[in-house]
Symmetry: C2
Subunit: 150 residues, 2 copies
DNA sequence: CTTGACCTTCCAGTGACTGGAACCCTTATG
DNA sequence: CATAAGGGTTCCAGTCACTGGAAGGTCAAG
């Protein structure tokens, strides 16, 4: 089957499938005489494995390890469990971080009346002191890098 | 003051300060005769504002907007409040996503005995069906892009 | 005078894609 | 048979927010 159908069946866009192949996550697909990649059902299962692991937050490197373990009938499940538990640790850390951000933002938002007046507890909170400022970031010029638009 | 001291006082690394300047987030620093950038206390406050906003998860674009609002003495606090509330929405979404990942991973980990046996409920869960597989990702070759190492 | 710490610019790489250009293959229709 | 639509192919560039490194200029101390 063509890459487009493989994409539909697996949920991985064609570009991404090619990308996964290019970085060696999945093996090179066989080709038809036309040069088109040709996929079989088992390739779809690999892609589905990848998409599930990615949706659980595993990095491509992790997924690569998981695929190797999946393919290794002699592997021990302990390795897999370790990877999964590391992931849970990362997730817990990230959640804690986000909750701390959320709490701070909520506090600031609660203090802000949100009307047309120019005093703003949120900006004051961000500035770290209550005095207003007049340093302007005007005259933004062209630059080699992409500009931050605002 | 030199960029190094500005970095220490603000908590933003020299490289990052130059980067912020290059993308137009902060204005171009004045220069000494040597060509070195020269910072004043008010620049440090801008950098501290940026670092606080970044730590709350605002993107550089958001920070750019916040700086503009901060500098605009005629602005309304409603704009700031809106930005902050959007951020809270994003954070809530991300937290929900992470908690769903966490729950799935916890389930899988709980089912996995994590010993030397080769059956692994985590891999089975990722594969979406309980049958074992033999598709090997061998013969990973050199490539123009960076390879995923495993 | 030399050392070492600091500064300068510029280019490249990160992760995990995604968009686009320029071109080839297949199939259906006028 | 020409052609147009809708696949596919490759390669290059861009995203975000930095970060590392090379190659070189400046400065203060010993």
């Amino acid at each position: 089957m063509n890459i487009g159908e493989a994409a539909k069946l697996s949920g991985v866009p064609p570009k991404t499938i090619r990308y996964y192949e290019s970085v060696g996550l999945i093996r090179e697909a066989s080709r038809k005489t036309s040069g088109y990649r040709d996929y079989e059902p088992k390739d779809i299962e690999v892609l589905r494995f990848v998409v599930r692991a990615r949706s659980l937050g595993f990095s491509l490197k992790d997924v690569c390890n998981l695929l190797a373990l999946w393919n290794d009938t002699h592997r021990s499940s302990a390795d897999v469990k370790r990877l999964a538990m590391e992931r849970i640790g990362d997730i817990d850390e990230r959640i804690a971080q986000l909750e701390s951000m959320r709490a701070t933002l909520s506090l600031l938002v609660a203090e802000c009346h949100g009307d047309e007046r120019s005093t703003c507890p949120i900006l004051d909170g961000l500035s770290g002191n209550p005095a207003p400022h007049d340093c302007r970031g005007d005259e933004i010029k062209e630059n080699s890098h992409g500009q931050v638009h605002c």
